[in-house]
């Protein structure tokens, strides 16, 4: 990761954000018959009541966990492209466990269900790490293939043997009330998992940057040959980061069941893995960089949702906005292009720019 000057990268992120907002406004104006209402719903909707606000923060929780999962793998130089499947596996395992341990006391039951889900996801991702460790099989591909293979099987289980006959939705039965995580900001779905997500981010930062193992972890990611030459057991830093990446995706999946929906819905994890990767890359694979990246992303998602609910704005247009934001949010050359561009426009409009500087 190149740090650059903090001021420069801050300007870069600020310009990218401004550009993203401008593009969003343009899209809302083009795509909606009531542009003013759509813009209002998009930008202010997420803050208009506790329901939207809470759900936005809950979306943030998921993005922090999946983003951290992806970022920690990146830091060790491994790719986990199976996040979506790992979230899904953890959710189903958690739902099944929670419904099986009805006689346990609440803390024990929650701990069991959470551990089972996280372990299942860690093992799924760890399998790809193990293959890489044993036989040098590319973990980028096996993690993707294993996830792609497991998704239809889980789909089948939720629709078939595990289906809740009492529900109209394609979902597992709802978990016992005693095992549901405490909600914050009702009626929204925000739950105390947010605290865990923030704690995990802080912990990841500490482990990565203030411990010897974290140093070895990063060194393996920067240059595996050099790390091996320096006596680091690099095999460990392939296997363990993959498993931990899976565990964090698993935590997101378990929280979905224990806190958000109280059941595993069919196909709920679609796109979660990719979003996690995007958050990790936007946050420059830094545990603390993931937090603002996840915040922007969560805001964007809930803005689209409120705009769709309240205006004629469509899901497709929201997808296009997300695509365009992806294009510019990591643009490194934008800070050098944007001033030139605005100067040119300024010159055409006959306005003299004061902060042009060098020209």
């Amino acid at each position: 990761m190149s740090r650059g000057s903090p001021r420069g990268s801050f300007a870069g992120i600020a310009i990218a954000l401004i550009a993203a907002v401008l593009v969003t406004v343009v899209m809302l104006v083009i795509g909606s018959r009531t542009p003013q209402a759509a813009i209002r719903a998009f930008f202010f909707g997420p803050f208009s009541n506790t329901y939207y606000l809470g759900n936005m923060i809950n979306g943030f929780t998921v993005l922090v966990l999946t983003g951290l999962g992806a970022a920690l793998a990146f830091r060790a130089g491994v790719f986990n492209l199976g996040g979506e499947g790992q979230v899904y596996i953890a959710a189903v395992v958690t739902a099944v466990t929670a419904n099986a341990v009805t006689h346990a006391s609440a803390p024990v039951g929650i701990a069991l269900a959470l551990t089972a889900g996280v372990l299942a996801a860690a093992m799924t991702a760890g399998l790809s790490g193990l293959f890489r460790f044993l036989w040098d099989t590319d973990e980028l591909i096996t993690s993707f293939l294993i996830a792609s293979a497991s998704i239809p099987i889980i789909d089948y289980m939720i629709v078939g043997p595990l289906n809740d006959p009492a529900s109209n939705l394609l979902t597992t039965p709802r978990i016992p009330e005693a095992l549901r995580l405490l909600r914050i900001l009702p009626p929204s779905r925000l739950h105390i998992g947010i605290i865990a997500a923030l704690a995990v981010a802080a912990l990841a930062y500490f482990l990565l940057f203030h411990t010897v193992r974290g140093y070895e972890w990063r060194l393996t990611g920067l240059n595996i040959e050099f790390a091996r030459y320096g006596g680091i057991n690099t095999g460990m830093y392939i296997l363990v980061p993959m498993a931990i990446s899976g565990a964090l995706h698993g935590l997101a999946g378990s929280f979905h069941v224990l806190g958000t929906h109280h059941a595993a819905l069919v196909g709920f994890s679609a796109g979660l893995g990719w979003n996690g990767l995007a958050v990790a890359l936007i946050g420059r694979s830094h545990p603390l960089g993931v937090l603002p990246a996840a915040m922007v992303f969560a805001y964007l998602q809930s803005g689209s949702r409120t705009a769709i609910l309240h205006t004629e704005f469509t899901f497709e247009l929201a997808t296009i906005i997300q695509a365009v934001v992806f294009f510019i949010i990591t643009a490194q050359h934008l800070p050098s292009i944007a001033p030139r561009f605005t100067r040119r426009i300024g010159a055409r409009l006959g306005i003299r720019s004061n902060n042009g500087g060098d020209s």
Binding site: F131, L134, W135, D136, T137, D138, L140, I141, T142, F144, L145, I146, S148, A149, S150, I151, P152, I153, D155, Y156, V159, G160, W274, L277, A278, L281, I282, T314, F315, E316, L317, A318, T319, I320, Q322, A323, V324, V325, F326, F327, I328, I329, T330, A331, Q332, H333, L334, I337
Partner: protein, 296 residues
């Protein structure tokens, strides 16, 4: 079964070859899925309105190349992260196609047109006596032959031309190229556009074989095409074998639907399971071979 496999293989192979070119130039193009989807949509719309498969396929190639050009401008000129840009291209295709389809035809769903020409097949005019050989060589749609031809062409381009040499050195040693006074970015851009050409054509074949456009018609084939690049050890011949392995696995799982008492949704995972097993076994065998070599 092999006949079916080759038909399934062709679109994956062509998209994989395109992806191989950008991969060799050091660009992991994860937008193959979106580029294929764009190709499929364009091919059906243009073929239906002109009545010509050739025009439809050409338009699909142009559309794929144009979207890939956008990819290259954003990743190279704006300096955006290649992976995120690729995800963005996929999202753009997923969002823009239903939007355009809705504006043009009033539906975001299946596009079925009357009098859709079908993809021609290569049949022999005379009787050919050896049945197995006959089945293997003839009776496929033209895309199959095209995909084999393009494999050879890609090999020639990469290993027998100066352009291919420079393209490969962009991926392996861009500084050397810069020292020789050439700009790596230029080659990267061409490679990305070529991957759009391949993915666009692959998507066109996928849709023209069915004669309809379905939402999410690619259903992960762009990702599989990406996998074949690595599974084939980044060589055109390897991509061919990998694409065939996947297509064969898919044919097996389709044939299994009538025989095995497994639910259809579970069978959807079979191609991935078989591919990952093939990959792991292959690397394990290779690895133990390498170890024996060392110990000698």
């Amino acid at each position: 079964m092999i006949v079916n496999s080759l038909g399934i293989m062709a679109p994956i192979l062509i998209a994989g070859l395109g992806g191989l070119l950008s991969e060799r130039a050091g660009v992991l193009n994860i937008s193959l899925e979106g580029l294929m989807l764009t190709g499929a949509f364009t091919a059906i719309v243009v073929t239906a309105s002109t009545g010509s498969i050739l025009l439809g396929a050409t338009a699909a190639v142009i559309a794929g190349a144009a979207l890939a050009l956008v990819f290259s401008i954003i990743s190279i000129d704006l300096g955006s992260n290649i992976f995120i840009t690729g995800l963005g291209i996929n999202l753009l295709a997923q969002g823009a196609i239903p939007f355009i389809s809705n504006q043009m035809f009033g539906t975001k769903g299946v596009l079925r047109f009357a009098e859709m020409p079908i993809l021609p097949r290569l049949e022999l005019a005379f009787e050919f006596r050896v049945p197995l050989v006959h089945d293997f060589l003839f009776g496929h749609h033209i895309g199959v032959y095209l995909s084999i031809l393009l494999t050879a062409l890609t090999w020639f381009l990469l290993y027998r031309t100066g352009f291919g040499l420079r393209l490969r050195s962009v991926g392996s040693n861009p500084e050397a190229l810069r020292l020789r006074g050439l700009t790596p970015e230029h080659y990267k851009r061409i490679a990305i556009v070529l991957s759009g050409v391949g993915a666009g054509l692959g998507g066109a074949l996928l849709a023209l074989r069915l004669g309809v456009y379905l939402p999410n018609i690619t259903s992960g084939r762009g990702w599989i095409a990406l996998v074949t690049i690595y599974l084939g050890y980044r060589r055109p011949g390897g991509v061919l074998i990998a694409a065939f392995v996947f297509a064969f696995a898919e044919t097996v799982s389709m044939a299994a639907q009538g025989v095995v008492a497994l639910p259809n949704t579970v069978l959807l995972s079979l191609p991935y399971v078989l591919t990952v097993i093939a990959m792991v076994v292959y690397s394990a065998v290779r690895h133990s071979g390498a170890r024996r070599h060392y110990s000698r």
